[in-house]
């Protein structure tokens, strides 16, 4: 329902563009008849509602349309872009978890000591550095100064090691920042658990602080953290768009910005709708997950 409304908005806003795609494609030298012929071919002379129905019908049946510029079917262009973006987001999520959980738990458990405060400060700084800035800094230090890893471009999955190597820096840039954000929630959740009665009971019956936290605490920490993590997934997808441009990876984000520049409307429409759909679906899934993980919430309502 919301998704349908979203598709209408995307389409209408992009269809009322000032520049006519046919004119942009053919350049300023184009004759009026050539422009008319191309407009005809692209189906842009039909009424707007008809174009919308064609577009949505195509998406539902799996035909995303043909790029105005390259003449390639968008599905295949998007497919090869997702081969880069998908693994990038996955790796980013992994890096984020590896950062968030230890950082959050550590700064909560040691919250009254210098080391815990230091971890919190580090965490705050991690949130303040945008992922694309971290990416550029990584390029400068690891790529340009140390020559350890590739700083841009993508060789394709036919060479798995090479492909993974070019995804390492982008994934770190993406994951560390998201991890820092999630880490704050982990910290809050662990602090909540640490001050809970059941943990005190667990300690009273003789468990060490560490064992009590692992056996009784972490499962309760998982509820809020999982939901935040789900929502951060949407953030990762958006972040990937930016990071791909930093590292010149041929993914969805690069395709999106190229299409904006070329006025390749239909590609922009497809990608914007795809990302919006991902955000909506993830939010919905998180909502459901939240209720099923924590029955107390269902009861409160």
């Amino acid at each position: 329902m919301t998704l349908a409304a979203a598709s209408v908005i995307v389409f209408v806003v992009l269809a009322i563009l000032p520049g006519k795609p046919a004119e942009v494609i053919l350049g300023t030298q184009a004759t009026p008849s050539a422009v008319r012929a191309l407009t005809d071919k692209l189906g842009l002379d039909k009424p707007i509602w008809r174009q919308y129905v064609d577009w949505v019908g195509g998406i539902v049946s799996g035909h995303l349309g043909t790029s105005y510029i390259s003449g390639q079917p968008i599905a295949s262009e998007l497919g090869s872009a997702l081969e880069v973006t998908g693994p990038l987001v996955g790796l980013g999520l992994l890096v984020g978890l590896v950062v968030a959980v230890p950082l959050g738990v550590f700064s909560a458990v040691r919250s009254r000591r210098a080391s815990g405060v230091a971890a919190s400060v580090l965490n705050q700084i991690g949130i303040a550095v945008p992922s694309f800035v971290l990416g550029i800094l990584l390029i400068v230090v690891v790529g340009v100064e140390l020559h350890l890893l590739p700083t841009g471009g993508f060789t394709g999955w036919s060479d798995p090691t090479g492909a993974l190597r070019s995804l390492v820096l982008p994934a770190v840039a993406l994951g560390v920042v998201e991890g820092a954000i999630v880490g704050r929630y982990v910290r809050t959740a662990v602090l909540d658990v640490l001050s809970s009665d059941y943990l005190r009971t667990a300690r009273a019956k003789g468990l060490t602080p560490g064992r009590a936290l692992v056996r009784h605490g972490l499962r309760n920490v998982a509820v809020p953290v999982l939901t935040v993590l789900g929502l951060e997934l949407a953030g990762l997808v958006v972040g990937a768009v930016i990071i791909e441009n930093v590292f010149t990876l041929p993914g969805m984000g690069t395709l999106l910005l190229q299409s904006v520049e070329n006025r390749d409307l239909i590609v922009v429409e497809d990608i914007v709708l795809l990302v919006a759909a991902v955000v909506l679906v993830v939010n919905f899934a998180v909502d459901i997950l939240y209720h099923s993980l924590d029955p107390r919430i269902a009861r409160e309502r």
Partner: protein, 301 residues
């Protein structure tokens, strides 16, 4: 489905602000001094604001003045942070970028507040179908992250400061609507509001006299936190070429240009990176600190 960094539950049942200090409660000033986040955050934020104001009337050099005789000059007494590829003074450009960033950030946050707060109040007051409608609409807008909105706007109108401000503002509207609604619902359920309603006080008057003053601290905290997000978004969007075009001095643009010359002068990347991080950190800490100050029950969590 709240990913808002504010604990909304904390404000339900909050004491009315107009009551002033309750005996035995430490004063706001006292709480401010004892919150490291608040102290550090206000110092950094104040410094950023002062730099922005100063840069309107004075910068060491004209931030746009090209001097091809002194390109890539390292830090020196004449140019404290050196010069860039056109011999422009980096410090002057950073200062003038502070002004641009703050202006864009403040405008987008206030713009979003001007739409989001009334919408949230309306949803809280009405409930029922109209209230639900506002909430659904907020969800719909929420599915479009600022980046996507900026992409669409830039396809239509080209990149500009206005594009960035519009995109960021639109992305913040649902945040304000949700925070306002949850906060207002909490206040509206209080006994003295029911009493006021029973006395025949009008809806608008209740909202203005009772609800708004009580949720003002919450909203101010939210504004500060969103300001840091706006700074971040502004830098990212300008970096991607969706914001103000060259040769203007903005942090995102400086990063984009510096990345092209990082083989020659890696320091050029470092300055804007540090500036962005410091600015985001400052507003973030200030927001956290304000939360500590306004809502003492949340301290130590």
């Amino acid at each position: 489905m709240s990913i808002l960094p504010v604990r909304l539950d904390a404000i339900t049942g909050a004491e009315p602000v107009s009551d002033g200090e309750i005996t035995g409660e430490p004063s706001v000033w006292h709480r401010w001094r004892h919150s490291p986040s608040a102290v550090v955050g206000s110092v950094i934020s104040a410094a950023v604001i002062v730099v922005a104001i100063v840069s309107v009337v004075w910068t060491p050099y004209n931030p746009l003045a090209i001097n091809m005789a002194a390109t890539f000059a390292g830090p020196s007494a004449q140019h404290l942070l050196g010069t860039d590829q056109y011999g422009r003074d980096v410090l002057s450009r950073l200062m003038s970028g502070t002004d641009a960033t703050l202006y864009a950030g403040v405008v987008s946050v206030l713009g979003a507040a001007a739409i989001g707060i009334p919408a949230g109040l309306y949803a809280a007051q009405r409930g029922g179908l109209p209230g639900q409608l506002v909430l659904r609409l907020a969800d719909l807008v929420y599915a479009f992250p600022a980046l996507l909105v900026a992409v669409v706007l830039a396809t239509d109108f080209g990149g500009s400061t206005l594009t960035v401000m519009g995109a960021v503002a639109l992305a913040f509207v649902p945040v304000f609507a949700r925070v306002t609604r949850s906060g207002a619902l909490g206040v509206l359920s209080l006994d003295y509001v029911s009493a006021a309603r029973a006395c025949g006080v009008s809806r608008t008057r209740i909202l203005r006299r009772h609800v708004l003053p009580n949720i003002a601290p919450l909203l101010i905290t939210q504004m500060t936190l969103l300001l840091s997000v706006a700074v971040l978004a502004d830098a990212a969007l300008t970096y991607l070429g969706l914001g103000a075009p060259p040769p203007g001095a903005s942090w995102g643009l400086m990063l984009e240009e510096a990345q092209r010359y990082m083989g020659t002068d890696p320091l050029l990347v470092v300055w804007p990176a540090v500036t962005i991080a410091l600015c985001v950190l400052g507003f973030n800490l200030l927001g956290d600190g304000l939360r500590d100050v306004f809502d003492p029950r949340r301290r130590d969590r």
